[in-house]
């Protein structure tokens, strides 16, 4: 059994994930994860959650204001820049909080952290990980982090929403890197929640925290200017990527459940297990289903939109405190509804 925690992107809405985890850890002190997959704000949280520093995570997600993350500018000054906002304050926070000491602790403790990014030059999703022997997937690239600077820059890149925040040259100071000047941005461009990474790396029990709401909010307003339309477009785009991210793992799991049910039926009809496995193993044909068991997917998601501005970049401590409460509420509902037999982490 390998348990993964997957946290999606969503800027300040990460406070909702803080609420979920706070409640879960309070209810199940023995709950721990073997791997942590983070996209954007999830990438900021993953290392600290892996180190058990929930107090610090909560402090970060209840005290920060927008100006502690990004700086607004005169738009005319940014025409020849790589972003609308300047993400320097976020970098300052990353340098202060994701220290060499913490990075060394993550590595020493064998915590497997997967940080999703998107490379602008290749258009590919690139996952940076502390896992020394990660899976080698076909549809995205995976790189093992070699030092603390690369670790910090991978976190920064994962959190940098393109156009809003600057792209990051993660491998600029990585010795021997073939493309040190490649620029990386938020992994959410390609994958909003990295559930697939957890599956590819052997997770069988996955806790996924999504920060966009499950329900569609119908708004009775007219969008009258460029900026509000841009803001709404980003929200729709994020929601769409998020839904697609969920559909694929769910279908994958349904296929695994179906294969498992067929195998059980064959066994009950007297076919030997070894023969069944032979039937499902085709030489020369690699399938993602081979030797995989059905997954346990636990999904946490807000019922209604959490707010937080475009891309979750409006950091308001009061609003974030409310997001934490909402997260705690959703986790409470999960605790009340789960079968005790399914609780493998108590």
């Amino acid at each position: 059994m390998s348990r993964a925690l997957v946290i999606s992107g969503g800027g300040c809405k990460g406070a909702f994930a803080v609420g979920i985890l706070k409640r879960l850890f309070a209810e199940y002190p023995g709950l721990n994860f073997d791997m942590f997959v983070g996209t954007s704000t999830g990438a900021l949280m993953a290392p600290l959650v892996a180190l058990g520093e929930m107090g610090m995570v909560e402090k970060l997600y209840t005290t920060q204001k927008t100006e502690n993350v990004v700086l607004e500018n005169r738009l005319g000054d940014r025409i020849n820049s790589t972003s609308i906002f300047d993400a320097s304050p976020l970098w300052q926070q990353i340098v202060e909080n994701y220290t060499d000491e913490r990075y060394n602790k993550v590595v020493a403790n064998g915590k497997k952290i997967y940080i999703t990014t998107t490379c602008l030059q290749t258009g590919q999703m690139v996952v940076f990980t502390t896992d020394k022997t990660p899976a080698t997937p076909a549809h995205y690239q995976i790189e093992t982090i070699v030092n603390a600077d690369q670790f910090r820059k991978a976190i920064m890149a994962s959190a940098c929403q393109p156009v809003f925040m600057q792209p990051i040259k993660i491998n600029l100071h990585v010795p021997g890197s073939p493309n040190p000047n490649f620029q990386y941005v938020d992994g959410g461009v390609r994958e909003y929640a990295g559930i697939q990474m957890a599956i590819d790396n052997g997770a069988t029990e996955i806790f996924t925290i999504l920060l966009s709401s499950a329900e569609v909010e119908v708004e009775d307003i007219e969008y009258k200017n460029l900026f509000s339309i841009l803001q709404k477009t980003i929200d729709i785009f994020t929601d769409d990527v998020g839904k697609n991210d969920l559909i694929i793992p769910q279908q994958f799991n349904e296929a695994l459940q179906y294969i498992d049910a067929v195998k059980k039926k064959m066994m009950s009809n007297g076919v030997a297990e070894i023969d069944i496995n032979n039937y499902f193993s085709i030489s020369g044909l690699q399938t993602p289903y081979e030797s995989k068991k059905p997954l346990k997917l636990y999904q946490f998601q807000p019922k209604a939109p959490l707010g937080g501005g475009p891309g979750g970049l409006s950091f308001d401590p009061v609003e974030m405190q409310q997001m934490i409460s909402k997260g705690e509420g959703i986790a409470g509902e999960f605790i009340a509804s789960i079968n005790t037999g399914d609780v493998t982490w108590a």
Binding site: E72, R74, L75, A87, F227
Partner: protein, 175 residues
């Protein structure tokens, strides 16, 4: 005199404290320089014919109260009454409105300016105007000055561009 100086300093401190709005991106602490083309008329509102005036101004300024006040000097070369002349003097700009492009930043501002110019032909102009600063690139303005030495009024419009470079953001994370 001492009382006036202290009162002015107190006012400046009060404005400075009130102006500490980190989210307002207009009038940041910086050096800025505009070149303006201006033209208009010189009149004393009598039956005498009005004189055309037009010229080129160089206006370097520095923000002394972030988000509120810039101070600088005007160097003006202008043509009027069949002569090319020059004028020089201090100028202050006070921002009255920021055009927000919430939540992304701002698109420009409206500011008022007051200035005093001494001309090479004994002109002593005092007055000011209103300016629209668009995207920190182009400035369009309207100004009124009283020449209290030669007893005339100067009414002008102007269009200018920023010629000082914009401070580049240093991306320490990409260095």
């Amino acid at each position: 005199m001492k009382v006036i100086t202290h009162t002015l300093l107190l006012c400046l401190v009060c404005i400075q404290l009130k102006a500490q709005n980190k989210r307002d991106t207009e009038f940041p602490k910086e050096f800025i320089m505009h070149v303006k083309l201006h033209n208009g008329l010189v009149t004393n509102f009598s039956n005498l014919p009005e004189l055309y005036t037009g010229g080129l101004q160089f206006v370097p300024q520095y923000t002394i109260v972030p988000q509120k006040i810039r101070a600088g000097v005007i160097t003006d070369f202008y043509y009027t009454n069949k002569k090319i002349s020059a004028a020089f003097g201090p100028t202050f700009s006070y921002k009255i409105k920021t055009f927000k492009a919430a939540p992304f930043g701002s698109l420009g501002n409206i500011n008022l300016n007051v200035d005093h110019l001494w001309g090479t032909n004994r002109e002593k102009l005092i007055g000011g105007g209103i300016n629209a600063d668009i995207a920190n690139k182009i400035v369009i303005g309207l100004s009124f000055h009283r020449d209290y030495n030669l007893n005339t009024w100067w009414v002008q419009n102007s269009i200018g561009i920023r010629i000082s470079s914009v401070k580049k953001t240093i991306e320490i994370f990409n260095q």
